[in-house]
């Protein structure tokens, strides 16, 4: 009896916080609603009215069911992980409603695919006729990716005044584990402050640049806002179907490149620089790791593209080769090429380079995906440490450290967790590749697309289309979700769900 009551209390506490996160994210629908109102997009306004009310009703209902237990039941790790993972799942369905109502997706599955792609800052698109979608829906697409980058739980925590006891556990559940300041609520607020300051700077600079390259002032503003939100969150969505190619502009590409590289850096690093600790940029293991891998991959890609005659001058190699490598490495997914050009023009070697860049990804506790530079740095250091140990006598003990905001001793636990997450990413990537080949896509194309979804990148070689098999769409959704939340919270949700089903099954059998 006590066990059943405890399970019910667990459910209530999870319900309350999930409801709270839903309310926080659904409130953002007010922005596209205001946009639609200003630009007289009446049908879109109705779509969002329906969607926001559905989300609010569910959110309030969930909060109601758990209200009497909040602050009475201690939030445990399992609660935090399940709150984060289930909020993401429920919000994917709720936020897909405006897409579905717009009629621009072939099915609700496609709508959910695009929302998950946005939340996880992947940037793959199944929405059709992008060039004719409303400003309201475009605003929503980019808000989704901007919020997804920082995290919906982070957003909810920023506004949380009461009931903040288990905040840290929910924060970790969303794939972030760095505390910028001792208080999690203030850390969440700081993440948002950093993002908003960059949003203003980025939008204004892209707006001005947009007018210089021939866009109308109002249109330039929205293009600037959307592109910045996407670049900062390393998302990869763009308001037009050609993505960055639409602008045909070197200056626009350079600006986006600066913003997505900055966006892929750790929030703790941003905070350290804001605090005046500029040396951290050079000392940090993540920036060192990113710089080395980006340099090596860019060099070899540029070399191959030049030698094979794909591009005949340096500017072209930079704009097409280096831009796409950095876009892949930061897991942004902005492209200034047609997807099929990777397959038909680039050849195998540059594609393999892109796959490696996509899998490595950006920094931990940033908006980027992939298995992250920090883990790569840890693995690399651990290999050096092991070799060192073998070469030296047992009596000589050397302590290995990494620098990430502070000096961290390279302990077994840290190395083990890095290996574990990298292994999970590799397994996810291999399953995705195998699935692609099963459905008849070439191996390299399947691997490219699998790396793109696993690393939450968004570059495509032409596999992701509305006509691809539904099984692949579902797998890609799962891969994006697992990749973004870094497995553990999703595993917790799966474990609890299966545990619950097992208990229910046994109970029924006993009856």
């Amino acid at each position: 009896m006590n066990k059943t009551r405890k399970s019910l209390d667990d459910l209530k506490i999870i319900n309350f916080y999930v409801g709270y996160v839903i309310m926080g994210t659904a409130s953002l629908m007010l922005i596209p609603m205001v946009t639609s109102l200003i630009f007289k997009e009446w049908s879109v306004l109705l779509d969002f009215t329906i969607s926001i009310n559905m989300a609010f009703s569910l959110g309030i209902f969930l909060m109601l069911t758990g209200k009497n237990k909040v602050d009475k039941v201690k939030v445990q790790w399992k609660h935090g992980l399940i709150i984060a993972s289930s909020s993401w799942l429920i919000l994917t369905f709720l936020c897909a409603v405006p897409y579905e109502l717009s009629g621009k997706t072939a099915s609700f599955l496609d709508a959910c695919f695009d929302v998950m792609s946005g939340f996880t800052t992947t940037g793959l698109v199944l929405t059709q006729d992008l060039d004719h979608i409303s400003l309201g829906l475009n605003m929503w697409r980019h808000i989704i990716t901007f919020v997804g980058g920082q995290g919906m739980v982070v957003l909810a925590l920023s506004f949380m005044v009461k009931h903040t006891l288990g905040a840290y556990k929910m924060y970790v559940g969303e794939g972030k584990d760095v505390g910028l300041v001792p208080n999690v609520k203030n850390t969440a607020r700081l993440i948002w402050k950093i993002s908003i300051v960059y949003l203003i700077i980025g939008t204004v600079s892209l707006w001005i640049n947009g007018m210089f390259i021939g866009l109308q002032p109002v249109s330039a503003f929205f293009h600037g806002l959307f592109i910045f939100m996407s670049a900062w969150s390393t998302g990869g969505f763009a308001p037009m179907s050609q993505n960055i190619l639409y602008y045909h502009s070197l200056s626009y590409e350079l600006l986006t490149m600066i913003f997505f590289v900055i966006g892929s850096l750790n929030f703790a690093l941003h905070y350290a620089v804001w605090q005046g600790n500029k040396k951290e940029v050079f000392k940090n293991i993540e920036t060192q790791s990113f710089f080395i891998t980006a340099l090596i991959i860019s060099f070899f890609t540029a070399l191959k593209l030049t030698n094979s005659g794909v591009y005949s001058n340096g500017i072209s190699v930079f704009r097409k080769g280096i831009y796409n490598v950095l876009s892949a490495h930061t897991t942004t997914g902005f492209g200034n090429l047609y997807a099929r050009q990777f397959a038909t023009e680039w050849g195998d070697f540059p594609v393999v380079m892109l796959i490696i860049a996509m899998l490595i990804g950006g920094s931990a506790c940033s908006t980027a995906g992939g298995f992250k530079g920090l883990r790569l740095g840890v693995v690399f250091k651990s290999i050096i440490a092991e070799v060192n140990k073998l070469l030296n006598s047992d009596r000589k003990i050397k302590v290995f450290k990494i620098h990430h905001i502070k000096e961290i001793v390279l302990e077994d636990g840290l190395v083990k967790s890095a290996y574990l997450i990298i292994t999970c990413y590799i397994i996810l990537f291999f399953i995705g590749t195998a699935l692609g080949t099963y459905y008849g896509y070439p191996v390299l194309s399947s691997a490219f697309e699998a790396a793109s979804v696993t690393g939450n990148v968004g570059l495509s070689i032409g596999v992701t289309t509305p006509t691809m098999p539904n099984v692949m769409k579902i797998y890609y959704i799962i891969a994006m979700y697992l990749g973004r939340l870094e497995f553990i919270s999703v595993f917790a949700l799966i474990g609890v769900s299966f545990g619950g089903i097992k208990k229910l099954w046994l109970k029924l059998l006993k009856q």
Binding site: E41, T49, I60, F61, D131, G214, M240, Y246, E345
Partner: protein, 166 residues
């Protein structure tokens, strides 16, 4: 007489075959263009599509993007020619359907490796314009019902919160 007849037929065949070989290949599906980009690089082509977004003026020349419905392609066009395109496709608007003749570049050296078309001539085939987007009455009813439900839930939640805080 027979000789004259033969000569006329021969001239006709030569002229016609010359016309066929010189005629730019017509494209309305841009994916085909991308797939066979290496083959048709630097060739004269003709393509049809809807002008989308807006015209981006870059001085003497402008960029116009045209779409076949799923894929869009950048056209580098003289600014005075671009002015003939009045409507650009976006939400609530159908862009002019244009026929562009020009040189296809797989990786344009002038434009940083962009795949583009340097237009020679532009022809408006079908003028675009405003598209009326209907407002569904069933959506209106659903929106009203859901708003009422949300208000009821909010009211209950506030009452419940007040009750528990006492």
């Amino acid at each position: 007489m027979v000789k004259t007849f033969k000569t006329v037929i021969l001239v006709f065949i030569i002229v016609f075959s010359f016309y066929v070989t010189c005629m730019a290949k017509d494209y309305s599906n841009f994916n085909g263009l991308i797939e066979s980009s290496k083959k048709i690089d630097n060739n004269k082509i003709t393509l049809k599509g809807e002008a989308i977004g807006e015209c981006m003026n870059r001085g003497e020349y402008s960029w116009v993007n045209i779409s076949d419905g799923s894929t869009a392609m950048g056209i580098w066009i003289k600014s005075d020619q671009a002015q003939s395109i009045k409507n650009f496709g976006k939400y609530g608007y159908k862009g002019d359907i244009v026929k562009i003749s020009g040189t296809f570049n797989r990786a344009c050296t002038q434009h940083g490796g962009d795949m583009d078309i340097h237009a020679i001539s532009v022809e408006i085939i079908d003028a675009g314009g405003n598209v009326k987007i209907p407002i569904s009455s069933s959506k209106k009813v659903i929106a009203i019902i859901l708003t009422i439900i949300t208000l009821i839930f909010t009211f209950i939640y506030i009452r419940f919160t007040k009750g528990t805080s006492k």
